[in-house]
């Protein structure tokens, strides 16, 4: 029997267990953030080694809020999140409702639906590059066969269409996410009000609108919050498909920061951008959380 040898270990066992995590996250999460914060007030640049390093206060921030590239990136990012996420919610709701019924092969379908989410994002990007290709891509081929297009369109190459093409990819990749969350929420709903409504004479649509939907609101809100926060982080897909182009039409914040830091090597400025983005994300999520709490209280 392993009788407690050192009572000190026994006493502090729970803290001991969490110590490695604290150290680990301390360095990599909070330490990193501290470092970024610090660097944002410098003009550090890095070419194989630190080539300059001066503390320049809020100069980076002043530059950032006037930076057209950064502002465009912010705009694009929010357009993307603002369009993709609601669509993903609606589609997710629709598909979840369909999957919630008694259909054969439901389990297989559920397994199938997670594929887009777990596919390596770089590969997803490449898949859609193939699809969108203007010379042989499937989408152009189909649209032309059906007579909708007379000439192939280079979706990823035109500033008017590029962002929307990316939005479609995001929808493809992440609708399963909202679907699964909403589906789980649906399955957790009690059946009694549903049956009572049936007996009361309500049609399926009326039941959905007046019974199911109100009960689903908490789930929907959570799905929305999670997905919105994630959508802002988009990077891999854009990197491999358009790299921000053509022009700045698909420049999203992740990419801007990356380019500043590792292509233009302005680590200090990139840090400032990073902090700004984080700041915006935090404020946004708090606002959304406040709204959620208000709705939940009702």
């Amino acid at each position: 029997m392993g009788v407690a040898k050192s009572s000190s270990i026994e006493r502090h066992w729970n803290k001991l267990l969490i110590l490695p995590t604290m150290i680990y996250l301390g360095i990599f999460a909070f330490g990193s953030f501290g470092l970024v914060l610090f660097l944002s007030f410098t003009n550090i640049a890095f070419r194989g080694e630190i080539s300059r390093f001066d503390i320049i206060g809020v100069e980076n921030y002043a530059k950032a809020i006037m930076d057209p590239t950064f502002l465009t990136a912010l705009k694009n990012t929010f357009i993307l999140a603002g369009v993709a996420v609601p669509v993903e919610m609606l589609l997710g709701l629709g598909i979840a409702l369909m999957l919630n019924q008694d259909i054969k092969g439901r389990r297989i379908l559920r397994s199938l639906f997670i594929l887009p989410m777990i596919t390596t994002p770089i590969v997803v990007g490449n898949m859609w590059r193939l699809m969108y290709n203007s010379e042989f891509g499937l989408i152009n081929y189909v649209l032309m066969s059906w007579g909708i297009l007379s000439k192939p369109v280079p979706f990823l190459g035109l500033p008017e269409t590029a962002l929307w093409a990316i939005i479609l990819v995001d929808i493809w990749q992440w609708t399963p996410f909202t679907t699964l969350i909403i589906l789980a929420g649906l399955q957790a709903l009690p059946t009694a009000p549903y049956e009572a409504a049936l007996v009361d004479g309500a049609s399926s649509w009326q039941i959905f609108r007046k019974i199911t939907l109100p009960m689903l609101v908490p789930t929907l809100l959570i799905a929305f919050l999670l997905r919105f926060m994630d959508a802002i982080k988009i990077f891999d897909i854009v990197y491999i498909t358009t790299f921000g182009g053509p022009g700045l039409s698909t420049e999203i914040v992740g990419l801007t920061i990356y380019k500043e830091a590792f292509k233009k090597l302005n680590l200090g400025y990139a840090s400032a951008l990073t902090v700004l983005v984080l700041f915006i994300v935090i404020i946004l999520s708090n606002i959304v959380l406040m709204i959620i709490n208000k709705i939940m209280r009702r």
Binding site: A192, E195, L198, V199, G201
Partner: protein, 361 residues
Amino acid sequence: MVNVRIENATKRFGKTIAVNKLNLEVKDGEFVCILGPSGCGKTTTLRCVAGLDKFDEGHIYFNDEMVDHLSPQERNIGMVFQFYVVYRMTVRENLAFPLEIKNLPRDEINRRVKEIAEILRLSDLLDVNATKLGPAEKQRVALGRALIKEPKVLLLDEPLTNLDAKLRTEMRIELMRLHKRLRSTTIFVTHDQLEAMTLGDRIAVMNLGVLQQYDTPYNLYYHPKNLFVADFIGSPSMNFIECTLKRKNGEAFLDATDFKINLGDLSNVILRKASSEEVLMGIRPEHIVISKENVNDAFTGIIDFIENIGDKNIIHVKIGNQIIRVLVHGRTEFKLNETVYIKFLMNTFHVFDKKTGSVIV
């Protein structure tokens, strides 16, 4: 108002037969209870009548029209569930819900809501959120919602089971009053035999999917058709004594080892109907007389235990190896281990065939 008929209905869940060739008819305006222990098939039957489930075999008729293929919405029924289902709306909106579905004119809706609220004493609660009410009030709302559309059939699935004792009695009276007033064809499912006996015009007793007896409360009590019904109905439950049917001098009597019971006039009937000599005699505790003085033909026993239930006592009398329970009203002067004499009231006992369980007398 509607006559409901279930014909040869069977429902299986995997290998278990939940409902076995059920034949049941509920007459127009009748209040019928389906009574039985858990798993006897009563809730399944009710749900099939509602259209929430389907029988594998057999049919359901409303006024001789088959309704099997109709969805719950189309059957025009009202249903109250065990767990007081109310919507997350005000009481008024709950009550109005079925009418709004049908797009009735606003005045009509308001009128009916007001009427139902008055009948169910909900008028003061109309604008309260239904989920905030207590269980009995919620159940009243559910009841109101079921009745407001003046359904052909009213179905109740153990609606009082989850209420505490006092509320239960109140709601029982409420239901009885409602039924007298509205005269809707009602099917009430419960496992509480007292409830069924007080409420039902007729009671369908079920066990393991099979209908045991479908009769008035009086008949179920005084003329049970088999062991199960005899045992299930009546509180405290019936005493059962194993006996052997024997003959002596042209008359039959029951030999219960520790005592004998003469069958007298019934001898011929019993002898004819009994399939074997092993029988069970049943007698209700309230049909036994107990006294400290010895009287003719009384059986002698010793008091083994006294159960006190409020203003009544159940006295367990030990005769030989048998224990017979006797119901006594009022305060008891009996004490443990006292010797007492018990006698069965005339013509109140039943004889059951031990193997088949059916009644002989």
